[in-house]
């Protein structure tokens, strides 16, 4: 499994031709308490660099951008009623899983991302 991060603070865990997507701990911290998530639907295609989901903190709405391209094969519907799981465990709270077509440009590994958010 390979864990990568986008400059827009999403993580992607790539395992063969499958990839799970979430947002980084840094991102959840910056966003603050999440109270709503507008999840994508199973079967949708997502395109690297384009918005695929939005989350809302108490104060504001933020778009999430796809770190990879592919077709969604699973959605973590548990988040619908409990978006705060992203705050408590950002790396565990995956949003969706895709059948991978291609990776986005400029993905960073963990060390590079840690440097990026310094």
């Amino acid at each position: 499994m390979k864990l990568m991060y986008a400059k827009t603070h999403e993580w992607v865990a790539i395992d063969g031709n499958k990839a799970k997507i979430g947002i980084s701990d840094h991102a959840q911290h910056e966003l603050g308490d999440l109270v709503f998530i507008n999840l994508p639907a199973e079967g949708d295609s997502i395109v690297a660099g384009e918005s695929f989901c939005d989350v809302e903190s108490v104060k504001a709405v933020s778009d999430l951008y796809a770190p990879v391209s592919g077709r969604i094969v699973a959605v973590n519907t548990e988040l619908e009623s409990a978006p705060e799981l992203i705050n408590s465990d950002a790396m565990g709270a995956w949003i969706c899983e895709v059948e991978l077509e291609s990776e986005g440009d400029d993905l960073m590994d963990e060390a590079a991302y840690a440097e990026f958010i310094k």
């Binding site: 603050g32 308490d33 109270v35 709503f36 507008n38 939005d54 809302e56 903190s57 108490v58 104060k59 709405v61 619908e80």
Partner: protein
């Protein structure tokens, strides 16, 4: 460059996440707490806010009451010394220059507390429109103000002052109260819908006062609270916010503030415009039927017709559901309404305000 309040160092010390608000660097929330935690603390224990960005103006002199009364929609005659009254500061067209609190120190001296974003505009307007023998002072930059809000506020204050030194009634105040060596004005006011006090002191004493109150309350559950919680708290309480529910272009007879608009009193700014005006809009509260959070500026539809907009909206931390304030045309409050939430239609349900009432 953004200004800082006298309490800026307190925010840094407590891990405040600083944002620019109305030209001031203020904390939106604090590290290790966050909007929801701070909000819940105010509803269950207490929170301490820096509201030093608010403006303070003093109008005094033999004609202070009548001169000021002409500039306000509410009637300030007959108030007692130590009483506070809410009013709109109207413009000649019937819109709002600001909404304000009037503190009567005595019959010839009034303190006006105004919104930070409007303080300069208000000062210019009031100073140039006061008639008769009056003196005007803008003391905004010399005053620090903190708001102690929450059910245990009184318990905290009683560690610092006696029962007699605290204002008893809602919307009353005591002045020249000694709080741990700092001379304060204490009012039973706030912007949270919760029991609480607001304390005013000289700017140079601000940090000392903040630290004294924080130390007195810390073990009881007092936490610092930022602008984020201030907004969700006032919204749950159904309190209007200038720039959202009120504005120069919004007629003040359309915002459900009738209690503060005394059409029967003698002439005041905007009275003629209001008398000639037939309200077309209203301010109502709403939640959603299914999912989604309507935010300010979302259009409100009845079928294909746009009948208004959302002026404020958030997820209510106390009620755990979305709440929104709508400005919609009269007669549509009982019809099926939808908000356009970023391209998605979200069905609305009109509900009474305040959304939250203290136990």
């Amino acid at each position: 460059m953004a200004k800082r309040t006298p309490l800026y160092d307190c925010h840094i010390k407590h891990g405040g996440k600083i944002v620019d608000f109305a030209g001031y660097e203020l904390p939106v929330q604090y590290d290790g707490l966050g909007v929801i935690t701070e909000h819940v603390a105010v509803r269950t224990k207490a929170g301490l806010f820096d509201v030093s960005h608010m403006g303070e103006l003093i109008v005094s002199g033999p004609d202070a009451e009548s001169a000021l009364n002409y500039l306000l929609t509410n009637d300030i005659r007959g108030m007692y010394d130590g009483q506070v009254r809410y009013s709109v500061l109207p413009n000649p067209n019937g819109g709002a220059i600001d909404d304000v609190l009037i503190y009567r120190v005595n019959g010839e001296k009034f303190l006006i507390v105004v919104n930070a974003s409007n303080a300069d505009k208000d000062a210019a307007w009031i100073s140039s429109n006061l008639k008769g023998n009056v003196k005007f002072e803008n003391v905004s930059s010399k005053v620090a103000q903190i708001a102690l809000q929450g059910p245990i506020s009184k318990e905290i204050m009683l560690k610092l002052v006696t029962e007699d030194e605290l204002p008893q009634k809602y919307y009353s105040f005591k002045w020249e109260v000694n709080v741990g060596g700092v001379k304060c004005l204490i009012s039973r006011t706030g912007y949270t819908g919760e029991f609480g006090y607001e304390l005013y002191c000289e700017d140079v004493d601000g940090i000392k006062l903040y630290d004294i109150v924080m130390a007195a309350g810390k073990d009881l559950g007092l936490v610092p609270a930022g602008l984020g919680a201030r907004d969700t708290l006032r919204l749950e309480a159904g309190m209007p916010l200038y720039g959202h529910e009120l504005g120069e272009e919004i007629m003040i007879d359309e915002v459900d503030l009738g209690f503060a608009i005394k059409m029967g009193k003698e002439d005041f700014v905007g009275k003629a415009a209001l008398e000639a005006h037939t309200p077309e809009y209203q301010r109502v509260g709403a939640t959603v039927v299914d999912r989604g959070i309507p935010r300010e500026h979302c259009d409100v539809y009845c079928g294909d017709e746009i009948v208004g907009m959302v002026t404020s909206g958030t997820q209510s931390p106390s009620l755990k559901m979305p709440i929104a304030v709508l400005r919609i045309k009269l007669g549509y409050e009982n019809k099926p309404l939808e908000a356009d939430v970023r391209g998605r239609r979200v069905a609305l349900k009109v509900i009474p305000m305040p959304f939250y009432k203290k136990a």
